[in-house]
């Protein structure tokens, strides 16, 4: 349990740090194909989560993930707030229903990814967060239980985010740009990559 609390705390701080560092880069990506506020929105959300880190990390893991989700919903704004919020709320709900980590990791992440798809009425291939989350889930399934799982998930996130550049946006404001969305990495895919990296970092903590 001690280790799980430490992982939660590390995940929150690592996510907030990565988003803070990349905030301007995320805004620049969003300016190219959206309204330019994704980095600022995500920073506001993760700053709010970080401000409650001690209190959240003390909760049972399922409740902690749900609390992260609720905080993101209330503070990120835009469409990303509900999308990231839904991910953590749905993942948290699986643990509150009895899933256990690390053995049920695939099921927990799958619930989060499904919730993002349902909330955005989207699927992989439409130049969104899902173009990172779905491949990462695929790696978790394929490599479950093998050493090197965390590294493989991190690599998949980085590679998949880059692969959104040539895609044509079909969801969100970028979809209004049509073919002009091609050539830019999707900001939601990039921020999803940062969060996946942060989660991977926190899972590598050793007692």
């Amino acid at each position: 349990m001690e280790l799980e609390r430490a992982m939660l705390s590390a995940m929150i701080h690592r996510s907030a740090e990565k988003i803070e560092t990349e905030s301007e880069a995320l805004c620049a990506l969003d300016l190219a194909i959206g309204d330019g506020d994704h980095g600022a929105n995500m920073k506001r959300g993760w700053d709010a989560v970080r401000a409650k880190a001690t209190e959240i990390a003390a909760l049972p893991t399922g409740e902690a993930l749900s609390a992260i989700g609720r905080t993101l919903v209330m503070t990120v704004g835009g469409a990303s707030g509900p999308l990231y919020g839904s991910f953590f709320l749905a993942a948290g709900a699986t643990l509150e229903r009895g899933c256990r980590l690390p053995e049920d990791l695939v099921e927990v992440v799958a619930a989060g990814v499904d919730a993002v798809g349902a909330r955005g009425r989207s699927k992989a291939g439409e130049k969104t967060m899902l173009d990172v989350l779905v491949p990462v889930l695929g790696v978790l399934r394929a490599e479950a239980g093998r050493p090197g799982l965390i590294g493989a998930a991190r690599d998949a996130a980085r590679r998949s985010a880059e692969l959104t550049a040539p895609m044509l946006a079909r969801k969100g404001r970028a979809a209004y740009l049509g073919s002009r969305s091609v050539g830019h990495v999707d900001p939601g895919a990039k921020s999803s990559c940062l969060i996946v990296e942060a989660i991977c970092d926190s899972l590598e903590i050793r007692p």
């Binding site: 506020d37 704004g77 469409a79 707030g81 839904s86 404001r173």
Partner: protein
């Protein structure tokens, strides 16, 4: 008045939301409760789940609440707000698929006449049927 379905207007723009509510007031009068919100958490254009929740609560009645939205994010954030409402109230809140200004006026007119939530929704969604 609390016996009538409440109306919530959610736009990305505070001015559009307020203007729509003004038109509803002028055309339908005071027999229906209307709340509106527009703009992001830190100002500017956008929609904000906590303000949508406040608006829903401001006009809540057991007869139900109809939400009118503009672009995609308004709908996504409204869905999220509905899910964050207490379970026993969620079933009495609908997000209408209608143009925001015309839909709000049609929905409010039906609500002011005492129409059920389903009738209110049907009245404004007729605008999208063609």
């Amino acid at each position: 008045m609390t016996g009538n379905v409440g109306i919530v207007i959610v736009s990305h723009s505070f001015d559009v939301a307020k203007g729509t509510a003004d038109m509803v007031r002028q055309m339908v009068g005071e027999d229906v409760r209307v709340a509106f919100c527009g703009g992001g958490a830190e100002g500017g254009l956008g929609t904000d789940v906590s303000r949508i929740l406040q608006a829903i609560n401001a006009v809540w009645t057991p007869k139900g609440v109809a939400i009118m939205v503009d672009l995609g994010g308004a709908e996504t954030n409204s869905e999220m707000a509905v899910e964050l409402m207490p379970a026993d109230r969620r079933g009495a809140i609908v997000i209408c698929n209608a143009p925001i200004v015309e839909g709000a006026v049609m929905a409010a007119a039906e609500a002011a006449g005492g129409g059920s939530l389903e009738r209110v929704r049907a009245a404004c969604e007729e605008l999208s049927a063609v």
